[in-house]
């Protein structure tokens, strides 16, 4: 990129390295040779966006097509936003330095609800009309995907095409279709219609919505013949054959995940009832240890990174884990490369494994019991007992650790004050456990980090009401008063942030008005404490005639038409309902390997055969 044209701006901001690209391994594009120019946008800062594996995977898929060139852009920090606006320079892509409006396709990944306002800010900064119906002819086609696209409605007015599910194959199909159409001069609305004909894509302008007098959804249906009534998510059935980027750009700045990331499997066997990832990423599919080891080796040699993280949900469920760890350790130690397992379930063999992998650097230990009492853990289907938790802690203390971090949630459905007190009691038991034996060195620190429950679409708890802010804050204070020792460090999330998150998580199209007004009032970077402004948001809702409680604090009817019901994730509503009922009877559901619960996701697998059962037979 020719940086001279931006030097005045870059010398006026705090972290210019966010806006210059040019990292080792980054693409040097030749826009002239590209038939289709795509800019992949991450609606948060560079340091967060560069840590996202999905973006790397998909950018690489585009760049391998031969006809597309994919560049990157990130949400500028307010100092840079101010500079861009002051000099009337549009937001640009880091490879070519060209403004977003010059691209054929601008793609956003939606990783969390609190980044929605950044999407709007980036569109506007990139000189792109905000609303889909205001775009025409040569304006870029705006696509969005990622976990939050499973309820796309709060952004329905702003995004042209949503991608539902995994994108490696689907997005290449879409890009190819857009490329051919643009070459032929196909009008924009016909391109959008054509996109709706490709499996896995949702074009919001082709659907009409009607509401009941109470504000709930009355109907949701296509407004043009030939548009499918349901949008089925796309998945990759064979993870070993799908493209994975072994050579990625290595940022100069320190990013959130500054390491090689290996995606070991997709989906989750567990079925925790609050967890959206555990449902939307089903069915469970593994990558083979051979592929993973080869991926890791080349990625490390290429990048010079000193850490490989195995990033999947509940990594100890991976059937090939012992083999993979041994294969990796065969070369990582010699290269001073560290292995990290950020998402470990507390079970019998985890400490043994951790001992093995921490041979280069010892990292902190984090568990997620999520709830303080057995009753509550059964309700959320976190199949773990207190004995298992304590045993795991005892082992790690015996191995010389003296600090660990525990994640909990408050405001869970059916929660009582006893469950809150149970969090403090469990943490206290862990502290006592440490001192039950003579130990050398410093004392113990148990960090208790408590988030607020946010009901999410496509979970058994999607119908549940979120506690009010007053109730969440009362529970936070109750827990605080229950903690009697300085050995426990207590942290909790801002309940007001979780409420806004809940509004958008279960929102419908009516929220688009609020999104637009929030944008006009300069709301952005809601994920950052220093910029999140609850009062501003409440004013926006009030001025739009929107009651946030309708979305966040209302129990949704089990027979209610939900804004996201038109999306088929494989897992059926019937299964979610049965899980909802089991939760309210404190009944747990076994993991998929122990017993199939007929969630419905198996239909997405090849030959209808769910991969977890399949592998199990192989390994038996």
């Amino acid at each position: 990129m020719d940086l001279d044209r931006y030097s005045e701006l870059l010398e006026a901001v705090e972290k210019p390295g966010r806006y210059v690209g040019g990292e080792f391994g980054s693409l040097i594009p030749d826009p002239a040779s590209a038939e289709l120019r795509i800019c992949f946008c991450f609606p948060d800062t560079y340091e967060i966006g560069m840590s996202n594996l999905g973006v790397k995977i998909l950018a690489d898929c585009f760049n391998k097509t031969g006809f597309a060139v994919c560049e990157r852009s990130y949400m500028p920090w307010p100092d840079m936003k101010e500079q861009l606006e002051k000099h009337k320079i549009p937001l640009y892509a880091l490879e070519s330095g060209d403004p977003l409006c010059k691209f054929d396709v601008v793609a956003f990944t939606l990783q969390y609800e609190l980044s929605y306002t950044n999407v709007l800010q980036m569109l506007a900064l990139g000189n792109i009309p905000l609303r889909s119906d205001k775009r025409s002819g040569n304006d870029p086609i705006i696509i969005a995907g990622g976990p939050c696209a499973y309820n796309p409605e709060p952004l329905a007015d702003f995004i042209d095409i949503f991608s539902i599910g995994e994108g490696e194959e689907a997005l290449v199909e879409l890009a190819s279709f857009i490329n051919e159409s643009r070459k032929k001069g196909v009008p924009r609305e016909d391109i959008l219609f054509g996109a709706s004909q490709i499996k896995g894509f949702y074009v919001p302008s082709l659907y009409s919505v009607a509401y009941n007098p109470d504000g709930t959804l009355a109907s949701f249906s296509p407004n043009r013949e030939g548009v499918p009534a349901t949008v089925e998510k796309r998945i990759i059935t064979d993870l070993d054959s799908v493209s994975f980027p072994r050579r990625c750009a290595v940022p100069f700045l320190e990013t959130v995940h500054d390491r090689v990331m290996l995606e070991v499997f997709r989906g989750c066997l567990r079925g925790c009832r609050f967890c959206q990832a555990g449902m939307i990423y089903r069915p469970y599919r593994e990558k083979s240890p051979e592929t993973l080891n080869a991926d890791a080796k080349e990625a490390i040699e290429y990048s010079g990174y000193s850490e490989v993280a195995l990033t999947s949900l509940s990594i100890s469920d991976y059937s090939g884990l012992p083999r993979l760890i041994d294969d990796l350790l065969a070369w990582t130690d010699g290269k001073k490369v560290n292995l990290s397992l950020p998402s470990m379930r507390i079970d019998s063999f985890y400490e043994e494994l951790l001992q093995k992998v921490s041979s280069v650097r010892k990292s902190g230990l984090t568990f997620a019991p999520e709830a303080g009492t057995q009753r509550m853990r059964d309700v959320i289907n976190k199949n773990i007992t207190e004995d298992e938790i304590l045993l795991a802690c005892a082992r790690s203390f015996d191995n010389g650790r003296n600090s660990l971090k525990l994640y909990f949630m408050n405001g869970l459905p059916t929660e009582t004050d006893e469950d809150i007190k149970g969090i403090a009691a469990l943490a206290q038991k862990i502290v006592d456990l440490f001192y039950s034996k003579k130990r050398y060195g410093r004392g113990v620190t148990v960090t208790v980090s408590v988030s607020c429950f946010v009901p999410k679409p496509f979970t058994p708890f999607q119908w549940e009401a979120q506690d009010t802010i007053e109730e969440l804050e009362r529970k936070q204070q109750l827990l605080k008063s229950e903690i009697k020792t300085g050995k426990i460090s207590y942290k909790y999330h801002d309940a007001r942030v979780s409420r806004v998150e809940a509004v958008f998580a279960r929102g419908d199209r009516k929220l688009c008005r609020a999104m637009q007004l929030a944008f006009e009032r300069g709301i952005m970077l809601d994920g950052w404490d220093e910029y999140f402004d609850y009062d501003k948001w409440m004013q926006v809702f009030a001025d739009c005639g929107i009651d946030p409680s309708f979305y966040a604090n209302r129990e949704f009817g089990r027979d209610e038409l939900l804004p996201w019901d038109f999306i088929d994730i494989g897992v059926t509503k019937r299964f979610l309902l049965s899980e909802y009922s089991r939760a309210h009877s404190s009944l747990t559901t076994p993991d998929c390997r122990t017993k199939c619960s007929a969630c419905g996701a198996a239909k997405l697998c090849r030959d209808n055969k769910c991969v977890c059962n399949d592998r199990r037979e192989q390994n038996a």
Binding site: E8, G22, F252, G304, K336, V360
Partner: protein, 202 residues
């Protein structure tokens, strides 16, 4: 175990990269090079690496220097080649050499290109008369005459800009950041570009 001294450039995009980020980037470059690099001992091993003199953000360097250690003797040409293959954009390995005993930086030569109406004579006169600036340091702000610290090598006016070449002290207890020179003239400088041409060692 031999120490290698490497001369490299830090130009282009790299002028927006901080010293700390550069340090991490060089550590990764050493790992990528495949050379038998020596790591620090202890809890969190990383390549044994020493960058001679931090360069401020927005400044460029034509002959920057870092030292590192390898565990076996290799022909120096192959060391240079391995480093150049692994280097990041905006940088080039100019040369590498084995060194015995480490020497510290003494001074550095800068080229300061200022877009300004100041002429050569006015600049020299300012230098003779003293240049009082407010210098920031850990112990607070202080009024300092920087003129005695500046060894002027040349001052040349061309078009709308004045190019000053000067040698400034760069040792542990005596250091001057070149950005104080344009700062002294305040608003009369429209824009400035600073390039470090060389670092002199004891």
């Amino acid at each position: 175990m031999p120490d290698v001294r490497v001369v490299f450039t830090k130009t282009g995009t790299l002028r927006y990269i901080s010293h700390l980020d550069l340090q991490r980037a060089i550590a990764r470059l050493l790992v990528r090079s495949g050379l038998p690099i020596v790591y620090t001992e202890g809890f969190n091993p990383h390549p044994r690496l020493n960058i001679a003199l931090p360069l401020s953000v927005y400044q460029e360097g034509e002959r920057e220097v870092f030292d590192f250690r390898i565990s076996e003797d290799l022909p120096i040409s192959s060391v240079t080649e391995s480093l150049n293959k692994a280097v990041f954009p905006g940088s080039r390995i100019v040369e590498a050499a084995y060194i015995t005993g480490k020497s510290a930086p003494r001074s550095a030569v800068y080229r300061i290109v200022m877009e300004t109406d100041i002429g050569e004579k006015e600049f020299s006169a300012a230098l003779d008369g003293g240049m009082i600036v407010t210098k920031r340091s850990k112990s607070g702000e202080k009024e300092v005459d920087i003129a005695p610290m500046i060894k002027l090598l040349s001052a040349r006016r061309e078009g709308g800009s004045l190019t000053v070449k000067a040698e400034l002290p760069a040792s542990g207890n005596d250091y001057l950041n070149p950005s104080y020179i344009p700062a002294y003239f305040g608003d009369r400088i429209k824009s400035v570009r600073i390039v470090r041409e060389n670092i002199n060692f004891y």
